[in-house]
Symmetry: C2
Amino acid sequence: MKDVTVGIDIGGTNTKFGIVDSEGQVIYQSKLPTQRHADFKDYIKELGTAIRQGLAQTKENYNIQGIGVGAPNANYFRGTIEHAPNLVWKGIIPIVEIIQKDFNVPVIITNDANAAAMGEMIYGNAKGMRDFIMITLGTGLGSGIVSNGELIYGFEGFAAELGHVTVNPNGRHCGCGKVGCLETYVSATGIKRTVYKLLADYIEESELRGISFHDLSTKMITEAALRGDLVAKAAFEYTGKILGSKLADSVAHTNPEAIFIFGGLSLAGDLIFTPTKKYLEANLMPIYKNKVKVLPSGLQNQSAPILGASSLVVDYLNKKSSVSI
Amino acid sequence: MKDVTVGIDIGGTNTKFGIVDSEGQVIYQSKLPTQRHADFKDYIKELGTAIRQGLAQTKENYNIQGIGVGAPNANYFRGTIEHAPNLVWKGIIPIVEIIQKDFNVPVIITNDANAAAMGEMIYGNAKGMRDFIMITLGTGLGSGIVSNGELIYGFEGFAAELGHVTVNPNGRHCGCGKVGCLETYVSATGIKRTVYKLLADYIEESELRGISFHDLSTKMITEAALRGDLVAKAAFEYTGKILGSKLADSVAHTNPEAIFIFGGLSLAGDLIFTPTKKYLEANLMPIYKNKVKVLPSGLQNQSAPILGASSLVVDYLNKKSSVSI
């Protein structure tokens, strides 16, 4: 019997799940459509069957030590998914209780950015670190903060919403209802908005002038910048400037050893890392200068969300064993 | 034999110290000038003698469980005071090692704002809370952040420098070398700068027009505001606006149950609390709205620094006993 953990990542479109061994190898993974069942119980039934089929397909006998779940609007303390706008199930879903009944093992849930932070600490580039910040750049900006070796959840489980710190109180409108939030500047959507602002303000020619807002993607902006397109390059510089200067405030909160950047925009490499580091340093108070690393995630692949979810179980078991010693 | 802790608060002018019983009562306290001895060892010798005399003056036999120290530029991890600009001893002082040798009990040191946060949790209005932020308003703005029931120290022990988050990158010059830091707006000095800015910008008569910058105090501004002075009132409104709007960013980091405000400016009561709460709420993202309490410290008295320092020992002993169970 080999010990394994199960990681489940619930996205708006697909649910990815996988079986992870004690070395952090994903020995089985698959996915199913998240929205096929309007009734949450039918969804969980299909997911449970799929996990058991996955286990059966591998040749060994496995002992599941626990199940970790990354999901939007997940509440770690209550074990619930609450009012997730991108999922079909409305209201409050007691997902931990339901999966626990089915599998009779510890089940831990948190939001995807927290899971990414934990995954980085257990399996990625934050191994051995006890104080760091994870920034995930997707459609929005997610984040997870680890201090003293623990994820910060806060009083109600809503800590680390760095996508919604204020860059400019008279700035861009945000989906959260506020104005000027960081993610309206720094995210896949944010950099598109910046490109459109630059196209409006300046007269330079740009290959991006021929692309509609809906069609424009981070990949297109990255490729244009690499070809020397002035607007695309300026958009990355501006994005890094905003990110770096706001991260200086985050450093003044938790004094991290490193800040990791994960997700679509981070794949642009130096285009985003160079201005981010430059403006972070420019805005740090002297005691922090030249001490905080800005690094790419070590888990930039298809399995990252599964490893992030699985790592919640590993962390849970580590903590449990250290307390009982 | 009664168990007690010793709290020592090292300030630029005076060192306050006291003996605290297990109920949080200060059963003896005294002070001595911090700067009398150019040699740190002579200072510690005098302090040690004074503590032992204090113990002797009380009638019971006491068992010192530990000594807590709050000091400027203190490093929790290294047990040192490092390059403190306001103290006569230059370089790095291994204070914990020196006191430990003398008293042979656990010695814990941290900066005064962290000690204030711990004091609030052990003896004050944060009893039972595991997630809160302490803001101390003196000459500058200090802070301590508690998450998951623990002080956040960060990678190098420099976490929670909220006085140096950026309000305006083109704003006021700060003693730290940066521009636009929060403490240049929100502190005893900050509100004086705001008064002078208002006197420069507007033509309204104000009783503060007759007072030099050096002579102006928080107390004078408070009393003028209470008498209806327009400039003094506007200065408080502006100070609370800046504090509240920046605290919204702090809430997005650690999702605290409460924010405590301690020190000189906080004694102005509603003059500072009302605008702080108003602009905090206005800048919070919806999930946090109407959930974060803004409260005065429960330790607004002469003994607060001693209780803060003493609480470091209580926390240390609590953690030690919970791990060994």
